[in-house]
């Protein structure tokens, strides 16, 4: 169903790309993330529960994201990126389950400057980007023992800035250009504060602030549509 909806949207965008000056581009990204502090937090959580052999199911691993941008001209572009990942530790048997999930979402608004890497080729470009990063995080706990269950959730957020280099190759095909990109985002995020109370923030067992470190590689593939 999602695929059918995607084909429909792609054809609709092509039909609207007549006699326009800019370009709209969409990339699907495969991203890696740092999140060393959050992984350490998971370890602490594991150590804190001794009665059950909890296991880490997800450790804020790489995931698919996307970038939606608009090329103002050949050098400058503005874009929006969306990345998600999560952490999970759990234990389950026939009598119950203990589950702790931490979904993370990143919303990025940024600008990009690129220039041709080779003199005789406009398709292979190198550039830099700068962006603002907005993070939302949930810590959801859930347990069920026989017929009794309980759950709890807290929401946190943080903001930050980032920069990074990017390498882009575009290949014109019919009316569009196929895009391949490789970048590295270096993110400087702020503290993860409670959504309902900015005065409270997440710390580890040592008392250090825990930050959402989205730094990592962004490998993308997409298309660019002139409009």
């Amino acid at each position: 169903m999602k695929k059918l909806l995607g084909v429909f949207l792609f054809v609709s965008l092509l039909n609207t790309a007549n006699a326009q000056n800019g370009e709209l581009f969409v990339d699907l990204n495969y991203s890696t993330f740092s999140f060393s502090q959050l992984r350490e937090l998971q370890d602490d959580q594991l150590k804190g529960v001794k009665d059950y052999p909890l296991a880490v199911n997800d450790d804020f691993s790489s995931n698919i994201g996307f970038t939606l941008g608009y090329k103002i001209n050949n050098q400058f572009a503005a874009y929006f990126s969306y990345n998600t990942t999560g952490g999970k530790i759990s234990y389950a048997d026939y009598s119950g389950v203990i589950r702790l999930t931490q979904p993370l979402k990143q919303y990025v608004l940024g600008g990009m400057y690129t220039f041709p890497l080779l003199e005789n080729s406009e398709n292979f470009r190198f550039g830099f980007k700068a962006f603002a990063s907005f993070t939302s995080m949930e810590i959801n706990s859930y347990s069920k023992l026989l017929d009794n269950s309980s759950e709890d959730s807290i929401e946190l957020r943080s903001t930050g800035l980032g920069i990074g280099p990017t390498l882009i190759y575009e290949q014109p095909i019919w009316k569009v250009r196929l895009r391949f990109s490789m970048a590295y985002d270096l993110v400087f995020n702020g503290k993860l504060t409670l959504k309902d109370n900015d005065d409270m923030h997440l710390e580890d067992s040592s008392g250090d602030d825990i930050k959402a470190d989205w730094s990592g590689i962004r490998a993308g593939i997409g298309i660019s549509i002139p409009i």
Binding site: T16, V26, Y52, P53
Partner: protein, 608 residues
């Protein structure tokens, strides 16, 4: 156009957002194996269907074999909870004495964890429930503590014994030894003492020793045993006359001779001499008196044990004991004694209850030589005991008792009443006080109220003689002589003829008919002897109250306030006059019979 582009972008944005959401991995699910129950719950010292006859301490222990935790355990006895909780071991006491005889069921219900290590197991929400049941019977319970046997005296000490089998559940005890309400000693006893079954009291001396144990069982239960006591016969003691200034204290072995080394009497009675518990004699430099002369409470006896040499003797006990100056006695209330020379024995009358006015029950006793009773008989009910006379009829050797309005003739062999003469059979005057005397076919009735006296033929009831009698009448044993007021009369041809008239006011006359003598006294203590044949009257050189004639020694005693004198009835010589009385009352009338001085309560001493 623009609207279309925006719609497309928003749609694309939604699609991408949905497509890029992070999908979490599945939960870490652990397959767990079911564990077969391996838990055990054991009880020690209790078996199914056992007979319980003593307290038992039951230990319990739970073993989960390293797999099952004990979640809950409840032990009930007849549905009453004994133990409950999660302790994996412990003990409880089943006391059959508290339960009482009957059938009982002890149930154990215990819940233990499944051992699967599941979340439910670890939260104690998953487990097994197991039950055990033990039935037992409580019956034929032995005594819970020891039962003291009656104490016995062995080798001069008190042996207190009990069945040592009953002491096996006891750990200690405290023995209290009392004399009446006075605590003499408390003795701590340990288990070995209790298991020996014997306690030898080598310490205490008393007239009554009372023993009781307060035992503590191994289960800390404290119980008192029965009380057992032993009456200790007083040391047999008497005083004998040595001479007018000295008496001899004679005693026999004390029953508890093992519990003291020597005893002493009150220091006021001589030097501090150590006297032998096994018996002996001791001269007391003190003039004799008839009854105990240490006051009404007896003689102070001090019992000692040697303890570390001279001057360090330990006083074991001090108490008073009646030590009578004379032999033992048979207590008779207001008794009159006679000595039957024909049978060679003493006799006495007894008023069973002197307070039973107006009907007194009268008994007669034949006595052994120590004045203990050998034979008794009931005479009957009399209205008065005033001036009662108890004599031997010289004609039949039977006994005569004149008591108020009745006169009894009693068979000397059987002590049964042969005949009774009642003044009412002769002279009926309601409301008048009559005194009846029967002598040798004569019935002599003194109407005290009317101051008159009538002599009847006892068989025909024919009135023979009638004369005034204002105050006093005494008749000799065969009726040969009579004293009426101051007039002495002799029976002559069936009538009493006056043979002598004394102007003094006579109070009491003693006829010695076989000697044709009589003694009498006036109210003021003047004593006189009258020869009834010669009419010779002599005034005695001694004052006196009562007198009594001893038919064996032919002597009589004259009793005054503080002395008793023994006098030869012929020579009127006083052979002995000793201060023997510590009290004197109108009722205290001594008897002198067969050389023995006897008081109305039966105390006596010989060879006086």
């Amino acid at each position: 156009m623009k609207k279309s582009i925006i719609n497309s972008l928003l749609g694309l944005l939604c699609l991408l957002t949905l497509s890029c959401d992070f999908e979490f991995a599945d939960d870490s699910f652990h397959e767990l194996e079911k564990v077969e129950p391996q838990a055990l719950f054991g009880l020690e010292n209790l078996r199914d269907n056992m007979l319980l006859q003593e307290p038992v301490k039951v230990s319990y222990i739970y073993s989960g074999n390293g797999v099952h935790r004990l979640l809950q355990m409840t032990i009930t006895l007849n549905d009453k909870i004994l133990v409950s909780g999660t302790a994996t071991k412990g003990s409880f006491l089943i006391d059959p004495y508290k339960l009482g005889e009957g059938k009982y069921e002890l149930k154990v219900e215990y819940t233990f964890s499944s051992g699967t290590n599941s979340m439910a197991d670890k939260n104690n929400l998953e487990g097994y429930v197991a039950n055990k049941s033990y039935r037992f019977i409580v019956a034929d319970l032995p005594s819970e503590t020891i039962v003291l046997n009656e104490p016995m005296i062995v080798d001069g000490s008190v042996h207190l014994s009990w069945d040592p089998k009953l002491a096996k559940n006891l750990q200690k005890a405290k023995l209290s030894i009392k004399m009446y309400d006075t605590l003499l000693e408390e003795v701590e006893m340990d288990k070995d003492d209790l298991l020996s079954g014997l306690y030898v009291d080598k310490k205490n001396v008393g007239s009554k020793l009372i023993y009781k144990l307060r035992t503590t069982s191994i289960y800390e239960k404290v119980l008192e045993t029965n009380t057992t006591e032993i009456d200790i016969e007083p040391m047999e003691m008497r005083r004998e006359i040595v001479d007018a200034e000295r008496t001899r204290l004679v005693w026999k072995e004390h029953p508890l001779y093992g519990n003291f080394d020597f005893f002493r009497i009150s220091p006021s009675y001589g030097e501090e001499t150590n006297l032998d518990p096994r018996g002996g004699e001791h001269i007391i430099n003190k003039a004799p008196k008839f009854t105990n002369d240490w006051g009404s409470n007896g003689l102070d006896l001090h019992f000692y044990r040697y303890d570390g040499g001279e001057g360090k003797n330990k006083l074991v006990r001090k108490f008073e004991q009646d030590v009578f100056f004379g032999n033992g006695f048979e207590n008779k209330e207001k008794a009159q004694f006679i000595y039957d020379t024909n049978k060679g024995c003493y006799l006495c009358t007894e008023i069973v209850d002197p307070n039973s006015y107006p009907n007194y029950e009268l008994k007669i006793h034949q006595l052994n030589d120590d004045l203990s009773v050998s034979k008794s008989a009931r005479i009957g009910i009399v209205k008065s005991t005033w001036k009662m006379q108890f004599e031997i009829d010289p004609l039949t050797n039977n006994y005569m008792i004149d008591a108020g309005s009745k006169s009894f003739l009693i068979d000397a062999e059987t002590l049964n009443v042969i005949d009774v003469w009642d003044s009412g059979d002769y002279w009926t005057v309601n409301g008048n006080y009559m005194k009846m005397i029967h002598r040798n076919q004569l019935g002599i009735i003194h109407n005290v109220t009317k101051d008159s006296l009538i002599v009847y033929n006892a068989e025909t009831k024919e009135e023979l003689q009638h004369f005034d009698c204002e105050d006093h009448i005494d008749v000799s044993s065969t009726g040969k002589y009579m004293a009426v007021d101051g007039s002495f009369r002799k029976l002559t041809d069936g009538k009493y003829e006056e043979i002598y008239k004394d102007p003094i006011e006579i109070y009491e006359v003693l006829f010695l008919e076989e000697l044709d003598l009589c003694f009498y006294r006036n109210y003021y203590g003047g004593l006189y002897r009258l020869n009834l044949e010669t009419k010779e009257r002599k005034t005695l050189n001694v004052e006196g109250g009562y007198f009594c004639y001893d038919p064996v020694t032919k002597k009589m005693i004259i009793q005054s306030r503080s002395t008793v004198s023994i006098m030869d009835v012929f020579s009127l010589e006083i052979t002995k006059a000793v201060n023997v009385f510590y009290h004197f009352s109108s009722d205290f009338h001594l008897f002198y019979l067969n050389s023995r001085l006897i008081d109305p309560e039966g105390r006596y001493f010989d060879n006086y």
